[in-house]
Symmetry: C2
Subunit: 508 residues, 2 copies
Amino acid sequence: MGLQAGDVVAVMDWDSHRYLEAYFAVPMSGMILQTVNVRLAEDKVLYTINHAKPKALLLNAEFEPMAKNYRHDAPSIEKIIWLDDTELDDTKLDNEKYGEYEPQTERSSMPDYVEGEYESLLAAASDAFDFPDFDENTIATTFYTSGTTGDPKGVFFTHRQIVLQTLASTLASALNAEGQGARYNDVYMPMTPLFHVHAWCWPYGATMIGLKQVYPGRYLAPRLVDLIEQHKVTLSHGVPAILQMLLKEMAARGRKFDGLKLLLGGSKLNEGLAKAAIESGIEFMSGFGMSESCPVLSRAVFDDKTDSMEMKEQLNYRCLSGSPIMLVSMEIWDESGKPQPMDGKSTGELVIRAPWLTQSYFKNSDAGNELWEGGWMHTQDIASISSSGTLSITDRLKDVIKSGGEWISSLEVETIFSFHPSVADVAVIGVPDERWGERPLALVVLKPDYADTKAADILALGLQAVEKGYLPKYGVPNEIKFLLEMPKTSVGKLDKKRMRMMCAEKLI
Amino acid sequence: MGLQAGDVVAVMDWDSHRYLEAYFAVPMSGMILQTVNVRLAEDKVLYTINHAKPKALLLNAEFEPMAKNYRHDAPSIEKIIWLDDTELDDTKLDNEKYGEYEPQTERSSMPDYVEGEYESLLAAASDAFDFPDFDENTIATTFYTSGTTGDPKGVFFTHRQIVLQTLASTLASALNAEGQGARYNDVYMPMTPLFHVHAWCWPYGATMIGLKQVYPGRYLAPRLVDLIEQHKVTLSHGVPAILQMLLKEMAARGRKFDGLKLLLGGSKLNEGLAKAAIESGIEFMSGFGMSESCPVLSRAVFDDKTDSMEMKEQLNYRCLSGSPIMLVSMEIWDESGKPQPMDGKSTGELVIRAPWLTQSYFKNSDAGNELWEGGWMHTQDIASISSSGTLSITDRLKDVIKSGGEWISSLEVETIFSFHPSVADVAVIGVPDERWGERPLALVVLKPDYADTKAADILALGLQAVEKGYLPKYGVPNEIKFLLEMPKTSVGKLDKKRMRMMCAEKLI
């Protein structure tokens, strides 16, 4: 189609085998793969496309309604290739079964402005292709962070970076004890979307190892659990929101998971959810990473010592963010950029070095320079690191609450409230307060059977924690507000920016 | 001491914690670590030193008799640092216990020409050292292959190459099923000397993972087994000759190993030894590599399929050389450089590509060009690769036997004879024959209790193999010669060059 080395090729698709093919075929041809986050608002999706300027687009039929005007609105796109998943057609799903999961209702037939359908084009082409050799520092992929402020920012990664991240992240997982480590005989399925930070590079890792791989399309809980049971999936990854979805679906089936190994990240797990996961037969391993870091930076270590921990200690350990994986350096800096001791207590901003960090933001060197201020990459996360190297994220730099001059960790309060039997989801944010500057406010989603729970019942857990010395008195929120649904970002993280905005506008 | 980036620092030591320190400290200072093979003949050791021209030498007291004239004979050496292992002093060993293992009898006291003793120098220096940053393609290490012909040849590896080899080789091991894979909770001890191809990069890997490490000094079987039992060593590596030594020592103690994971390489394992290892509680994983390749290129894969193999099939599988590890490409070429099919039958020279192969021989570009003829590195090994990717080394290019125009695999014949209960060690070489060009000759070392075994008893196994179709008729040697000791190279491989020479000179 006349595409050349250096051209950007965008993909708008759910997790499919064709997406996996694009993961390899596009970069290996010397082109740059743009993995479009299709869960952003439509205008943001268009923004990311007009910023990266792809020459070609692989478009799943499901997104044609969103992309139908791209010929005019996204003028860089010269060629569109049509992806169609008849067998995965969500309109044919049993509506009763899939209930609240919103299967797709609209699906376009192939429009005349596309070059052709992917499988037909492939079948008509030669079996042989001589992939070119080029510098390993060639850019392989780009995608956009959903961003808590302003427009999405583009990150980009080279072949070298993806290879190193894949080797180190797979290795850090494989060294874990039985039942918790990646193995040659795993069956892999992603539950972090392929448009989200290379699905943590596991499609690369699983292919490198030679695993059987299952691609689930759009993430509908019943389909995910069907596939896990049918294909005996043993290895996956996702954010806590996905874990919650899986547990709920499996509970409805009255069964348990058969030792699924689930790498967790994206946001911190709370101990209530951790306990439920273990009881449901899921072996999960927490870790930490971000869009700017390809993504994996740390991963829980499971060895003899972990094995012999008491349940309570183990729950706590499992909700921490693991230890830096090989080739990663971490430091904790105070506001003036001074490294803090690694004693498990001192907190500060987590800054990192590793050979797979984005070197800047795409066409936005000001933001890039800020990201790399002082020669280390700034995560904007507040953390502590223990003397044995275990990382604990205590807050987002922008989510931290300062009350009467004292810092309050919203995660700490969330963890405590998560233990109440009525709590399905909880977020603690800082709201302006005349006297204290800021005060914590808890937002709670109740489980269906606990609709009549009172705020005081949940707040009582906070007071208990104060009595036991786990929480300072000023850490207990003044009030709890109940929501029907928790505001989350497109990748399933608590969207505290939106929560604060909703509070300011008195929407909650 | 005035040493600078680019200077060569040589080490003459058995496996010690100081050697491990040098593995990191010398390359990380921008200097080149020369790991001197102290088991070569004295004049060859001197040759390798005068070829690499180190400016400094870390000298274990045990090798002072060999090195005492280096001030004159190796004029490049400006500084000598004295290493002394009083606690490991072999002269203090119980002679009865260590019997045939030749503990050292001579140990010099510190001569006045050295700069000082390692530990004292270290204690007197500052705790802080600011390691410089430099290009990852800087040479980190050099050492010399024992070589089957001519003078030893120097190979060299960069920081980048060692990091990639360490990541990939550790990963390929860690992905194996329980009991066969590397884990965070292993205890590591090398049984391939640290002067031999970076001890297969495991000292780097074990440090990267954070394992407890045990360094055994000179390899005396009783000491190795003592340390394995005392420190509960779970992970090691070595050549088949080391395995044989371990089995004999443990049998003498009337005990078994407790699931020691042993990575094997260097020369092909025979099924007789493999069976003995399994029965003695050693989980071994074969692989393939060479001095020129840093070294690991392939490693056995253990998954569900391997687990469910019958013993006979598993023995055979375990004696093959595993599958290429990540980042390694392998092809089988015929004499004209044409790639052969990967069907498990077609044989040819194994040629490789990987990002950690020596780029030439040190100051010997002619030999380097020959090594890299056609853009692939030539292993000089004859091999086949199955459709599922399992590598089988059938012979050394120079060890292959051609009888009446037909190739005979010496390894195949050795494997068959290894099953005879009387055979402790066996080698098959080609000897000149007027009628057939060459004929195979078997050299056998008998076990002590089987001294009266007749050649015909062993040859009968060959005839049986012919009947069953495992071996062509011309593959059965005409005769067997019995030796008291098998000629081996300094790293424990069958020294077929010496055997052929001994035959030619009618010494055997």
